[in-house]
């Protein structure tokens, strides 16, 4: 679960956390944005990199509980079309 902001300063830590999951062999990753205020292109970069890696190992990445601002960023950037999104954790878990 990510809290606060996913931007230039916080993205590197997020990337480290996700890479650890991938190194540990995760093939299904759910990212819960319920407590995330906003995301900038630095955060999108991490998500795109993760999505590409998951695709290459035939894994599944789902992001859920985006707030209005984050959803808008996903829509403007076209990320809502290329990433799997869910309204909440229950729906997301059902999609794996």
């Amino acid at each position: 679960m990510f809290e606060g902001n996913l931007d230039t300063n916080t993205a590197p830590d997020a990337e480290t956390a996700i890479n650890k999951l991938l190194d540990d062999g995760a093939r299904k990753i759910l990212i819960n944005f319920e407590n995330l205020n906003y995301i900038s292109s630095a955060g999108l970069r991490i998500l795109l990199g993760t999505a590409k890696k998951m695709k290459s190992i035939s894994g599944t990445l789902i992001i859920c509980s985006l707030n209005q601002t984050v959803q808008e960023v996903f829509d403007i950037s076209g990320f809502s079309t290329i990433l799997s999104l869910a309204a909440n954790e229950t729906d997301a878990l059902a999609s794996f």
């Binding site: 230039t8 300063n9 960023v73 403007i76 990433l83």
Partner: protein, 138 residues
Amino acid sequence: MQELKLKIENNRPAIASVIEAFAEFTEKSGIPMSVAMQVNLIFDELLTNIISYAFPDNDVREIGIHVNKNDQQIGVQIVDDGVPFNPFEQSEVDTSLSIDKREIGGLGIHLVKNVMDEFTYERRGECNIVSLTKRFNN
């Protein structure tokens, strides 16, 4: 009209201090949360760009930020005295590409252009001046 004026040094951690100061301003001046988040986004994108590209000599320099707000809208102005650099003159992003073909370059500015109602760049003397406006929808 309410105003906020800040100066920061040209390093990435300083961006967090802008977000913090703006958060306080948001509470005091009653800016809608969705607009505040959008302004946070443009701060992150534009300040990161300026810090990355406007000062090739790596000196410690200052960036000036001026926010003003009235009942209809919020205006943001970012000023630096680095090399001539217009962040809006970047190549367009293709948002229809698939995961394999997507790249991140230019995406930050694409977000800024789509989230703000107005954005302009001006080179005045030795300064780059970026001005943005977001109207409150009611």
